[in-house]
């Protein structure tokens, strides 16, 4: 029983992680993890997202028909 529950929760957390990667929200998680590893103080979420928006501003991606 608990094996099944474990497997289900594995699947669920895997799907959740993929979704966060798809929306780009995982970038923040990765950044925080990286800062922790390097012992650096992370910038605020607001400042981080602003950097990402600025970057998008200059790299437009075409959308096809």
């Amino acid at each position: 029983m608990s094996v099944l529950a474990d497997r289900l929760s594995d699947r669920f957390s895997g799907a959740w992680r993929l979704l966060r990667q798809a929306t780009g929200e995982a970038k923040w998680d990765e950044y925080v993890a990286r800062c922790e590893r390097d012992g650096a103080e992370p910038m605020s979420r607001r400042a981080f997202e602003r950097h990402r928006a600025d970057e998008k501003e200059h790299n437009p991606q075409a959308r096809c028909c």
């Binding site: 993929l18 979704l19 966060r20 990667q21 798809a22 929306t23 780009g24 929200e25 970038k27 923040w28 590893r37 979420r45 607001r46 981080f48 997202e49 602003r50 928006a53 970057e55 998008k56 501003e57 200059h58 790299n59 437009p60 991606q61 075409a62 959308r63 096809c64 028909c65």
Partner: protein
């Protein structure tokens, strides 16, 4: 032997000792082949009886599965020789921005969202005038041997060149003249595509207060999402998308009450007013910061894209509708169909571009996506697999158009000049085509979706009507009007996103090009340059849109062929590049892989271009049309469906212009193909030529290649992740 193993160090025996599993695989693939063969046989042999739409659906799915399993694997391993021990640009140049190692499934989603939009929904609907069979065959065969091959091969070559764009590759691998021609062609083709897509939206929203209300509200909804993400809760994309989609559904439901709200008068807009609104909107959207409008709209559009495709597939299976369309109509041979003129060959093959072979994809498969691929072998699932998925969308659209009563289909898709715009005249016109429909039938159909349906050309309303039939059948509940506007909404959403993004890409291209002679203009942060370049791009497609809307012969009828041919001429450029690279890399033996679709595409586009330019039939040749109209004018008469002398002048002007554009596109492609031929001859003589491919660097990362990781791949990834942790 499996060569697509992900692990560079432990590429053990591919087949392994698991004998029962391989027997199971053989059984499964035999079953898939049998299902496919039976479906195709039913489609080929049924005439004059009721045929279920599911035969088309499963013929498509079985064919895709087999093509993916065998042909794409052959291309990956034998032709391109993908090498997972070679680091991809994402690994070598990782910067967390454009170069970024991305999970293959996530990248598949991003790539699919970028390539698919309204195109595969519109073309098949128009092509349904020739029956369901020609479209079905072309969509499935076309994607397997042309469209998906193009996307995958271009993605691979761009990946081997650090994500260079199509234009750059043409210049560096074929020559400067061809490069300049490619640059002009890409820009011009993009303008035409934007104009035609915008025309589809205008035709769907004109005199539709419900549609205008719902689509209009997407702007404040997107703005709200943008400010939410910027100021309220930065970065919470999933959360804001859920809120946005809920608001979107409310906007569709709310549209049903425009009359009660007393807004129907104010929101009943003419074609001309809508053009002005779109142009103004397009300009503002392209100069606003992306976080305000473009990015949140993109989230909505992507969510709806995936949601609607799943919904449509489920709806089709549940409803299992019967096809009302004939397998092949007489219009295929007479070439006198009211939706677009011309015979099956070549016009079905250019009317359906997206979904079978779309050159525009080459712009996305070079550039953005290849910079994010983790492993070379993944171009198979992302490039080939992504295009198969788009093809599935096209097949669904073809089915939706083919389950509609054919009398209604032709009433909706013939130009206003032909149907006369009222149920009585439309019924008379359609009966004249040989289909039976009464004015009362048309009125009842219109009442069911609460819209006028006569001469709603452009494909979107027809698809929406078909989808409302399917969803009502599948899910019940008498919600036909809601489903109709739901479908209109998501098509308009895709198109507006494409218009926003396309205008911005066009602006960057223009700034970059002018920047070659005037350096400062290339600075994308410099406002005068940004604004003037945006204005130029918007005016270019706005002008074409205006021409299309005012065309007495029907804008879709006149411009859609130009759009289809333009898109496939772009495909010709991409496939030419791919073929040249096969020879330059010394892989002449496999040059047929991109070469055969290239030759087919050149035959189709050049025949179509030739007919459009030189045909003496005024219904097909643009110049023949202009001179017939001119003769009528000189004789003091009206021409065709023209109602005033001004209409006749308009026809002369529009047709001449379309003819010139058509000829210019074809010439640009000929210049590129000629340049390519010279390069190929040199390459054959030398047995290969140096290319700009980046030298191999050993890869250090481990990742699976396909949608589902094998047991060995999972194990390898686990080992690698453990070793990564240990080394930190």
């Amino acid at each position: 032997m499996s060569t697509s193993t992900a692990n560079p160090t432990s590429s053990g025996p591919g087949s392994g000792p698991n004998v029962p599993r391989s027997w199971r695989a053989i059984a499964i693939w035999t079953a898939v082949a049998v299902v496919g063969a039976v479906c195709w046989a039913v489609l080929a042999l049924s005439r004059g009886e009721d045929v279920s739409a599911l035969w088309i659906l499963f013929a498509a799915l079985a064919s895709y599965a087999i093509a993916y399993r065998y042909y794409s694997k052959f291309i990956a391993n034998k032709v391109l020789k993908v090498d997972d021990t070679r680091a991809t640009p994402a690994e070598r140049l990782e910067n967390g921005q454009d170069f970024d190692v991305t999970d293959r499934r996530v990248l598949f989603g991003h790539h699919f969202a970028a390539i698919a939009g309204a195109g595969p929904l519109v073309g098949p609907v128009l092509a349904a005038q020739m029956g369901y069979l020609p479209g079905t065959i072309w969509i499935i065969v076309g994607v397997i041997f042309a469209g998906a091959v193009q996307d995958m091969v271009v993605m691979f070559f761009s990946m081997r060149r650090d994500g260079k764009s199509l234009g750059q590759m043409v210049r560096e691998e074929i020559g400067t003249v061809a490069g300049v021609a490619a640059l002009i062609a890409v820009f011009a083709i993009m303008i035409i595509i934007l104009a035609v897509l915008a025309l589809v939206v205008v035709n769907a929203l004109a005199d539709s207060p419900w549609g205008v209300f719902s689509i209009g509200l997407t702007i404040p909804i997107a703005l709200f999402m943008g400010f939410y993400l910027r100021y309220l809760r930065p970065g919470r994309v999933s959360e804001v998308t859920v809120i946005g989609v809920a608001l979107l559904l409310l906007a569709i439901i709310g549209g049903g009450y425009v009359e009660e709200m007393g807004l129907d008068g104010a929101l009943t807009l003419s074609h001309e007013t809508l053009v002005i609104c779109l142009v103004v909107y397009g300009f503002i959207a392209s100069i606003l910061p992306v976080w305000m409008l473009l990015t949140p709209r993109d989230y909505l559009s992507t969510f709806m894209k995936v949601g609607v495709i799943v919904l449509l597939a489920v709806g089709l299976v549940l409803a299992a509708p019967t096809l009302q369309n004939e397998a092949v109509t007489d219009f295929a041979t007479t070439g006198e169909g009211p939706v677009f003129a011309g015979k099956l060959f070549p016009f079905v093959f250019i009317t359906i571009a997206c979904g079978a072979l779309s050159g525009f994809h080459a712009l996305i498969a070079s550039g953005t996506t290849p910079k994010m691929v983790a492993k070379e072998s993944q171009v198979r699932m992302i490039g080939y697999g992504g295009m198969l998925m788009e093809s599935f969308v096209a097949i669904s659209a073809l089915i939706a158009a083919s389950v509609i009563d054919q009398g209604i289909y032709f009433s909706m898709n013939a130009a206003a000049g032909a149907t006369g715009g009222t149920p009585e005249t439309a019924a008379a016109f359609v009966n004249g085509l040989g289909f039976t429909i009464t004015p009362a039938d048309l009125e009842a159909a219109a009442a069911s979706v609460e819209e006028t349906i006569i001469s709603r050309t452009g494909g979107a309303p027809t698809l929406a009507f078909g989808m409302s039939l399917i969803f009502t059948e599948a899910f019940g509940g008498g919600l036909a009007a809601f489903w109709y506007h739901f479908a209109i909404m998501f098509e308009a959403l895709f198109i507006l996103t494409a218009v926003d993004a396309g205008t911005r890409v066009g602006r960057f291209m223009l700034q970059d090009t002018i920047g070659n002679v005037w350096k400062r203009y290339a600075d994308t942060s410099w406002r005068p340059a940004a604004w003037s370049a945006s204005a130029l791009v918007v005016l270019a497609w706005g002008y074409m849109l205006w021409i299309g809307v005012g065309d007495p012969l029907g804008g879709i009828n006149q411009l859609f062929p130009l759009f289809g041919i333009a898109n496939q001429l772009l495909a010709a450029i991409a496939l030419t590049l791919a073929t040249v690279l096969m020879f330059k890399h010394g892989l002449a033996k496999y040059a047929w892989v991109p070469g055969i679709p290239l030759i087919w595409d050149l035959i189709v586009t050049m025949t179509a271009s030739w007919e459009k330019v030189f045909s003496d039939n005024p219904a097909i040749g643009y110049f023949a049309q202009a001179s017939a109209a001119r003769e009528a004018r000189d004789a003091g008469e009206l021409y065709g469906v023209a109602k005033t002398p001004a209409d006749v002048d308009q026809i002369i002007y529009n047709s001449t212009q379309s003819g010139i554009l058509q000829a210019a596109f074809a010439l640009l492609v000929i210049v590129i193909v000629a340049g390519a031929a010279v390069t190929v001859i040199k390459a054959i003589r030398a047995g290969g030529l140096p290319t700009t491919e980046i030298a191999k660097v050993e890869s250090k990362i481990v990742a699976p290649s396909d949608f589902f990781a094998t047991k060995e791949e999972k194990e390898a990834v686990r080992e690698w992740e453990a070793s990564q942790k240990a080394s930190v």
